[in-house]
């Protein structure tokens, strides 16, 4: 099975978008997970709700909100363009859509992992004079690695499958914003596009299985290291 240039473009773009969405989102996700797991403050429930919003509202709504907040002629949109970040009809906009959609999944997984870390270990480190940053970097973070992996894999998978927010926010431009699900959708809509759609279906399944297998191997290795 050799790939047509259109299929190759869609696959390459999907992988690029998903990797970027996870890469950009990981550090903020850790920060928010830590905030929600370890801190008590006013408005915590509100932050929690806002982060989870994309998980609950229809993706098309998320895409529409992105247009309203970060569209080409909005204040924030123009600010980002001045900084050289163009979102409208651009693959970076697809990354943003995937990032927003997958962010709650990352935060959730990492937060659960942090909450499971034994607070006694952190307290012991503090009595020995370790700084907060050092405790986080040498105890909390390493022990949360399984959650980090789960979160990253979930976010990667969600980004690969992202459809509604992407097509609403950045349209369906081959080679620029036409990711795998968008290409698949286009083929299902075209008369006689069934064969092409079936091919992309198979490709999607293969990518998903490979990603899951990789994450499984990674998770087992880290579990071994943590449990000695």
């Amino acid at each position: 099975m050799s790939l047509s240039p259109e299929e190759f473009n869609a696959i390459w773009l999907s992988l690029k978008v998903a990797v970027w969405a996870v890469a950009v989102g990981l550090v903020p996700a850790i920060a928010f997970a830590l905030l929600l797991a370890r801190c008590q403050f006013r408005g915590k429930a509100l932050i929690d709700a806002v982060i989870h919003l994309p998980l609950v509202v229809p993706p098309v709504v998320t895409g529409y909100l992105l247009i309203i907040v970060l569209g080409r002629r909005t204040f924030l949109g123009e600010l980002f363009q001045a900084l050289g970040l163009k979102f409208a009809f651009n693959w970076k906009g697809a990354v943003l859509a995937s990032l927003v959609m997958s962010f709650p999944l990352m935060v959730r997984a990492i937060r659960l992992s942090i909450e499971a870390v034994d607070k006694g270990l952190e307290a012991a480190a503090r009595t020995l004079g370790a700084s907060r940053l050092r405790i986080f970097l040498t105890i909390t973070l390493p022990l949360s690695v399984p959650g980090l992996i789960t979160g990253a894999v979930l976010a990667f998978a969600r980004s690969l499958g992202e459809f509604g927010a992407t097509i609403t926010f950045v349209s369906n431009i081959p080679g620029e914003t036409q990711t795998l699900p968008l290409a698949l959708y286009t083929f299902t809509q075209t008369p006689d596009g069934e064969m092409m759609a079936a091919r992309l279906c198979i490709i999607s399944i293969i990518i998903a299985l490979v990603a899951l297998a990789l994450s499984e191997v990674l998770a087992q290795k880290t579990a071994k290291r943590i449990n000695g």
């Binding site: 569209g71 409208a88 009809f89 609403t168 369906n172 431009i173 286009t186 299902t188 809509q189 008369p191």
Partner: protein, 255 residues
């Protein structure tokens, strides 16, 4: 004793079932192209008022391609209104159109629109690439959405398709393309005249000449085996002078 009460209960249930099925009104499913949304909604309201029909009308508005495929897959549609002849024929070739039920509901014009802060008028479509600059032109997906297919024909007619291909934002239905211009994501858009008239934000800057693209025609038909007295009456109403005035109010052209 127990047996008797059980029997009473069973007969009660049966009576209830029969009663509800007698009272339940007929349901008419209308699958219509997205570009006809407002007009068809109003037409259904008027039809129900004037005929006093007790039938419940349920509508599904999407791109003609989506609807045709859903009907082919066995969706419960009674009436199909397509935004182009191609998808109607596709359904007809599959034997899914009730013979003799089809008619031409209306036709439409294809226009170029600009957003709230966009240009007022364009005398020649060949000015479009210059006016567009680095911006984007929103339209229906040219591979399958009728509005996009007509748009591609019209742009090709003037030799603009190739040069603009990198600046096209193609959407899964024409209303999303309109929305992209309304929200100023795209500078210009190609939509139907009827959509442009309804938009409060965007305005028409150019109307494509009729010879630049296949006529935009809206066939209406009953789905094979789904023709009832109610759908027949509705289809007859859609051909009436009253229906035509409503369609014209929304910018459609009727014969």
């Amino acid at each position: 004793m127990f047996k008797r009460s059980l029997l009473t209960l069973a007969s009660l249930c049966l009576a209830l079932l029969l009663a509800t099925s007698a009272v339940a009104s007929e349901k008419v499913y209308v699958f219509a192209a997205a570009s006809t949304t407002n007009a068809v909604k109003e037409l259904i309201d008027i039809y129900r008022q004037e005929s006093g029909s007790a039938a419940e009308f349920l509508t599904s508005f999407a791109s003609s391609s989506t609807l045709a495929r859903q009907i082919d897959a066995g969706a419960d549609a009674n009436i199909f209104i397509s935004a182009n002849v191609k998808w109607y024929k596709w359904l007809d070739e599959k034997g899914l159109v009730e013979a003799g039920s089809n008619a031409l509901m209306a036709s439409n014009a294809l226009v170029v629109i600009a957003g709230p802060n966009g240009k007022d008028k364009m005398n020649d479509i060949r000015q479009l690439p210059g006016l567009l600059g680095e911006g984007y032109l929103a339209m229906g997906d040219a591979t399958h959405v009728p509005a996009g297919m007509y748009g591609k024909e019209a742009l090709s007619h003037y030799g603009l398709w190739e040069s603009l291909s990198k600046q096209l934002a193609q959407y899964p239905d024409v209303r999303k393309a309109l929305n992209a211009v309304d929200t100023e994501q795209a500078d210009f858009g190609i939509v139907y005249k009827t959509d442009a008239i309804q938009s409060k934000e965007s305005h028409i800057v150019y109307i494509f000449a009729a010879e630049s693209h296949t006529p935009v025609e809206y066939p209406i038909c009953a789905v094979k085996g789904k023709q009832t007295a109610e759908t027949k009456a509705f289809l007859a109403f859609m051909k009436s002078a009253r229906a035509k005035t409503v369609l014209e109010k929304y910018g459609f052209v009727t014969q």
